[in-house]
């Protein structure tokens, strides 16, 4: 990119739960923001602009929450931006914040994503307030059945992903679902919610928030000099496509492939599987892991499920995926994309604690939204030139 380097120097998130009724909405977003500011060793007054992302207003019934939350997020007298890209919004929020720094417009930007699902109902909101809502699971089930049919993947692949992500969540103190000793048998015995997706192959409904502090090259280098490794944003990309047209392929959407192609090109990545050390992908339903490994060019077409089957995507595997426990373990929708982006940054900073991947130097994060039609990705690394170009 012919723009200025961007460094991630602060990351914070809430303890995600089905109900965070101990805090107000302002208190929830501030919990994440406090942790990000503390990590960045900054005060509210150090922040130049705030970018806020969340799912559509129907979820909590608060119109224009970016105005309602401006003072809670220290944006009084500062620019406040709202981002709308459905489920991918957290990812896009991080990208918009990075662009404000990359363009030289602001020096220190706070990106925040949140959802308080317990205050409304996701099925209601996704059904536009009408009856007979299919929800995300119902809408995506045919896509996943299409993947299974096309790839010939064995039926245990979905349950394997569900188990793997929940095992990772046990190592993440912020994760919502903590299912000790979860097994493939237990997943397969859980109710079929949206054939072929079972209850334990689906994401939970969560309350939670995530915050990220981004700054410029000077700020990043200062953090590094102080012993706080920044994550450098090597590349960002977003794509979208219409929700429906004859011939659209939602199993391998052109928008996803184009987004991945673009982000790898910018980052100087020609072989994602080899040059990336791990990936944090938006997987709200188990089968999306192999689908997205393929659509985002980490696996060859039809080969994604083999990475799952071989254990490559496990925390100790050759290509760990969703080290945090992923969307399958915590799903505050508006925060979910930013949580993916933040986890990739935590990994390359070496700050992921028990779910740290050894020698994670370069990581990719991805989020998608609506009818699997919005895509957002970024590649982060612990140096500005990880491939020694």
């Amino acid at each position: 990119m012919s723009t200025r380097p961007v460094a991630i120097v602060g990351i914070g998130q809430t303890n995600h739960k089905s109900k965070r009724w101990d805090v107000s909405l302002g208190g929830l977003v501030r919990e994440a923001a406090f942790r990000a500011l503390e990590d960045a060793e900054m005060e509210w007054s150090d922040i130049d602009a705030v970018v806020l992302g969340k799912a559509p207003d129907l979820f909590e019934g608060i119109m224009k929450p970016e105005l309602y939350l401006s003072d809670a997020l220290g944006a009084t007298g500062k620019p406040m931006f709202r981002v709308h890209t459905a489920g991918s919004v957290g990812g896009t929020t991080g990208i918009v914040a990075s662009h404000l720094v990359a363009a030289g417009r602001h020096k220190r930007v706070l990106a925040v994503g949140y959802q308080k699902q317990s205050e409304g109902n996701a099925q209601f909101a996704l059904g536009s307030g009408q009856g007979a809502s299919m929800g995300a699971g119902g809408a995506f089930a045919p896509y996943m059945r299409g993947y299974i049919h096309r790839s010939g993947a064995p039926e245990d692949i979905g349950p394997m992903v569900a188990v793997k992500d929940r095992q990772n969540a046990l190592k993440n103190p912020y994760a919502h679902l903590k299912i000790e000793n979860i097994s493939i048998e237990q997943v397969k015995a859980s109710p079929m919610m949206w054939d072929p997706i079972r209850y334990l192959e689906s994401c939970p409904s969560s309350d939670g928030a995530c915050a990220v502090v981004l700054t410029d090259e000077e700020g990043g280098k200062a953090a590094a000099a102080a012993g706080r490794t920044p994550a450098w944003v090597l590349a960002t990309a977003v794509r979208s496509e219409p929700f429906q047209f004859p011939g659209r392929d939602p199993v391998r959407p052109a928008g996803a492939v184009d987004c991945a192609t673009d982000v790898y090109r910018q980052a100087g990545i020609t072989n994602p599987r080899e040059q990336l050390d791990c990936a944090e992908l938006y997987v709200p339903f188990s089968w999306y892991e192999p689908m997205w490994l393929e659509a985002h060019l980490i696996a060859e077409e039809g080969q994604g499920w083999k990475m799952v089957e071989a254990g490559d995507t496990a925390l100790t595997g050759s290509f760990p995926v969703n080290m945090s426990g992923g969307v399958l373990s915590s799903n505050p929708i508006g925060a979910s994309g930013l949580l993916r982006f933040a986890e990739a940054a935590l990994q390359v900073r070496g700050m992921a604690g028990e779910h740290q991947v050894e020698e994670a130097n370069v990581a990719v994060a991805q989020a998608y939204g609506a009818a699997a039609q919005y895509y957002a990705m970024w590649v982060v690394a612990n140096s500005l030139d990880p491939f020694g170009s």
Binding site: W21, V23, D71, G138
Partner: protein, 332 residues
């Protein structure tokens, strides 16, 4: 959904009126919670922020975002109107059913204003700087409407004493919005066609893709599609994919049992109609390859103004299944 015809001077516009409503919840947190609790006790509390007293209280300094110590102070009950706006024609969502004023009221002892209602008989009784006091409701829930309204004067009108109850931590908020959207000509034509028992689409002149009659454009070629592009569609097809939905219960949900939605690839042309309902097919019988035909609403069903359309769904034709593997899992 209801269709209404509104006649303007120059043109006829058809609009559809929709209402969506939902009982949202709010967790109040460590500052608004005590404020609401105090309302139930017929008191107002504020919070100190430096040299200022803020009411309603906030968890943070609104200018610096600094977390505030929980230093609460009683204010009011009387106060001064800082500014106001007269509502001459209240709607059912307004707090009073007669004309009233919304006002910013600085309660005695506070440095910031509270938005509330002033109940007076006419606009002539309103003035900036006037003194007002709360009229409390007999039934109080720990909600801002525990104050029914402010009225002119210095004395609060209290009811049933101030018995301390349980701390208020949650609030319910019944949101409702009714809106009218103009209906496009293509949507009207789509309804007219289904009313005649016709299944029609619009064919893009550039890429020849066929879209639903109400789509009105090709997103690939950004071409507007109009009456000139209408094509008749066969009323039979094959199920190429499906989903069985376990309904999650929410206010407004109309389903209680698992229900199916299927993708129907229309015969002879390359169009998949997505997420279609099946009629009289148990969910365990839904399968790829099933041959189906359109079911139209009966005359009685058409007369039901609550019906969204005339295409009820699809029903098996009884023909043998189509086992062509290239059709299986066609989604769009």
């Amino acid at each position: 959904m209801r269709t209404s015809h509104e006649r303007g001077i120059a043109e006829v516009t058809i609009t559809v009126e929709s209402t969506i409503k939902f009982p949202y919840k709010r967790s109040l947190g460590p500052v608004i919670g005590p404020f609401m609790t105090a309302l139930a006790e017929q008191r107002f509390i504020a919070i100190r922020s430096g040299s200022r007293v803020i009411c309603p209280p906030l968890e943070w300094d609104p200018e610096t975002a600094a977390e505030l110590p929980r230093d609460f102070v009683d204010v009011g009950p009387a106060g001064t109107v800082c500014t106001w706006s007269w509502v001459s024609r209240p709607t059912e969502q307004h707090p009073l059913d007669r004309p009233f004023a919304f006002a910013l009221i600085k309660l005695d002892g506070a440095d910031t204003a509270l938005t509330h209602v002033v109940d007076v008989e006419s606009i002539d009784q309103m003035s900036t700087g006037m003194r007002v006091a709360p009229r409390w409701r007999a039934e109080r829930l720990g909600h801002i409407t525990d104050v029914e309204a402010f009225v002119p004067g210095e004395e609060a009108i209290t009811v049933n004493g101030g018995v301390p109850g349980e701390p208020v931590t949650m609030m319910s908020y019944d949101a409702s919005i009714t809106y009218k959207i103009p209906v496009s000509d293509n949507t009207i034509k789509a309804h007219e066609a289904t009313a005649q028992g016709r299944l029609v689409g619009l064919k893009c002149p550039v890429c020849e893709r066929i879209y639903a009659r109400d789509r009105g454009f090709c997103p690939i070629d950004t071409v507007e599609l109009t009456d000139d592009h209408e094509v008749e569609l066969p009323q039979r097809g094959v199920v190429t994919s499906y989903t069985i939905i376990t309904p999650v219960q929410y206010p407004g949900q109309t389903e209680t049992e698992p229900f199916s939605r299927v993708m129907v690839l229309i015969d002879e042309i390359d169009v998949v109609m997505m997420y279609q309902p099946l009629v009289d097919v148990p969910v365990e019988d839904v399968r790829i390859g099933m041959r189906v035909a359109v079911v139209w609403a009966s005359e009685a069903e058409k007369a039901d103004a609550g019906r969204p359309g005339n295409l009820v769904g699809w029903m098996p034709t009884g023909e043998p299944d189509n086992t062509d593997p290239s059709l299986a899992n066609r989604i769009m």
